[in-house]
Chain length 275, copies 3
């Protein structure tokens, strides 16, 4: 008896192209032309236009859950047509392909960067290369060749001066923890870069009331394990599914209510009212 | 000669996660990690946030057309983090996985519910389970294991006290048929729960003029087989592709014009002007 | 040793159904019911409602990049329920399935039309055919049968009186080139039907300044190879990834700034200031 275990090669696509144009489909066509056996997965195509940080965050929340050897192509590329490089990043588990503007690096650093290669080998690009759509003409074919077994070293020479985005650092002083808003998600949840460890360091525990300052405004918000401790419409702080401290409203939109957006600074301390 | 017939296992995904975050992709990663040979199909991720009825309706309009043994995972889950159960529903043709809030039941009842199981077996969940994202940590892996051959009984014990949504019932008296608006679709078509049989019972036939009352307003609208009987911009009633009575405007948006939304009551009677 | 080369049959889907309903998924269910081994690719489902030209343009920008024998189903169908025909177009490389309203023809003419068949053979349709959703009941199953090897001639008889959309023609006189706006993309780039050859004919070269007239307004805009020659916020003309002359703003939205939409006339001439 022959038992056939199918193992499909997964290729994830992320872009700011939206869904009203043929750009994403053109990239998929190029990939299938190289191998129709690749399984293409849309990570998101609704990244805010040219917003490299938005793309980097979404990629970093999804990539860790994918099988080893998944190849991700990410095209948020305000620098297309300038001298910015195209790169392949070899992480411990996955491969990442895209422009050298930092979009790949939040996810790649999370798992550990092994090597970064500049894309230079014309053999793995389309014949004609447009000035404006490297996603279709360079990144998609490079990713498809990687997915079908081409070694990253084949794509170009290793480089060490790649770009990494800087993010607001978490600082703790005078019993105040301050961090940055990494992302506001579609539910209006405000995701910061503050971790449970940061909170524990200041003695903050589930059930405590927090003073949460954003811009000039201070709100008293309780810190709970889960939405189930609150009523619909009630604010809470919690550790979200990305492992970071989030502000949310049960069944409503916290970012609208607090007028918060990505990049804002948030400062937290334990309120005296805490049990 | 060896002829190889590929039969891929289909897994349908529905959520209110939208497409600007990494949540849907994280679920897909979890599924592919279990088996990269599963074919994942997006049913919709643009269900109105927390709107269980919207999700239930969209699932019910799509599921009947899928092959037997398709597994559907549906995550519209305002109760995540409360004591609401997670369930697997075994219908006559398909399997459904999601929260026990009724979202699965419109589709499942349509084909016939065989068994409902509470999801309790940790073996089929992710190791770490977040308080806020059971779609990724429980429902996605359970569905992937079901798609690769795990029996539903393995997931947990059978239950009988699952939640079913109640929908406005169609009532017929004094020659008036009243029902509810199940859904307003993207074209602005107003889909009710009134069927052709209900209309026939009151002697209504294609070509008739109907008095259609919504809130305080009564409109005279002709009942036709198809858009082809009207001019662009003209109202009509028809039996839509879901088998229900719909109000529409040829090439325009009826819901905007009549200011109707899901849950509104609609009352129909045959107008004396009918031929 | 047995080496197994998988070659999946690709089927592209384009519609104006949006992503909040179950319509697209119902079509996918019908396709998988016929063969679960087909790889379905979403081209776009966010075509402007009933906008056949939008659909035709998006299809034409994506189709050329897909493997030979890819089958495309395109459902932007304001005429559903009238006497408009359903057709299969056999191009030199791909097959196209949809309503006979011109949506398929921009892509098909580009590669060369071999034959056009009217869809009449009930054997390849669903049993029950709704009056309003031929995408699900006729086009999806026809496409799935074509993808699994059915010959186009099986679907119905060849016809020659199919519909082709007319597009604004490029005209050159008195050193002015006038054309039409084919499409405004999600970035706000204004894509015209003027080609590099048209520009060359009037002696226009990269680096020149152009007088660009839209409606009553004339703007001076430089013509460059690529965004890299401009600063963020600066206008430019360039040859875009579709091979046509585009107006754009580096990292911003040109269509909003110039208040341009599809179908507008654009007139270009070489400005005296050009180097």
């Amino acid at each position: 008896m022959i038992v056939l275990i199918m193992k499909n090669q997964i290729l994830g696509l992320l872009s700011d192209f939206g869904t009203k144009d043929g750009y994403v489909a053109a990239m998929k066509g190029v990939i299938y032309e190289i191998s129709s056996a690749i399984t293409i997965v849309d990570i998101s195509h609704d990244i805010d236009k040219q917003d490299v940080r938005h793309g980097a965050f979404v990629l970093a929340t999804a990539a860790p859950f994918f099988p080893d050897e998944t190849v991700f192509v990410c095209v948020v590329d305000p620098g297309v047509g300038t001298i910015r490089k195209g790169i392949v990043v070899e992480g411990k588990e996955h491969l990442y392909v895209g422009p050298d503007n930092g979009i790949l690096m939040l996810a790649a650093e999370h798992e550990g960067i092994q090597h970064v290669y500049e894309i230079t080998n014309r053999k793995y690009m389309r014949h004609e290369i447009s000035a404006t759509f490297h996603g279709r003409d360079i990144f998609a074919p490079v990713a498809a060749y990687l997915a079908t077994g081409t070694c990253p070293e084949e794509i170009g020479k290793e480089i060490f001066d790649y770009i990494v985005l800087s993010w607001t650092k978490v600082e703790i002083k005078n019993k105040k923890i301050s961090g940055g808003v990494l992302h506001v998600d579609g539910f209006g949840n405000i995701i910061t870069n503050i971790t449970l460890d940061d909170l524990k360091q200041e003695g903050i525990e589930f059930g405590d009331v927090l003073n949460v300052q954003i811009k000039e405004q201070v709100n008293k918000i309780a810190f709970y394990e889960t939405y189930g401790k609150t009523q619909p419409g009630e604010f809470l702080g919690l550790i979200g599914s990305t492992g970071f401290f989030e502000l949310a409203i049960n069944q409503s939109n916290a970012a609208h209510k607090l007028d918060v957006s990505t990049g804002d600074i948030i400062t937290i301390s334990r309120n005296m009212l805490s049990p």
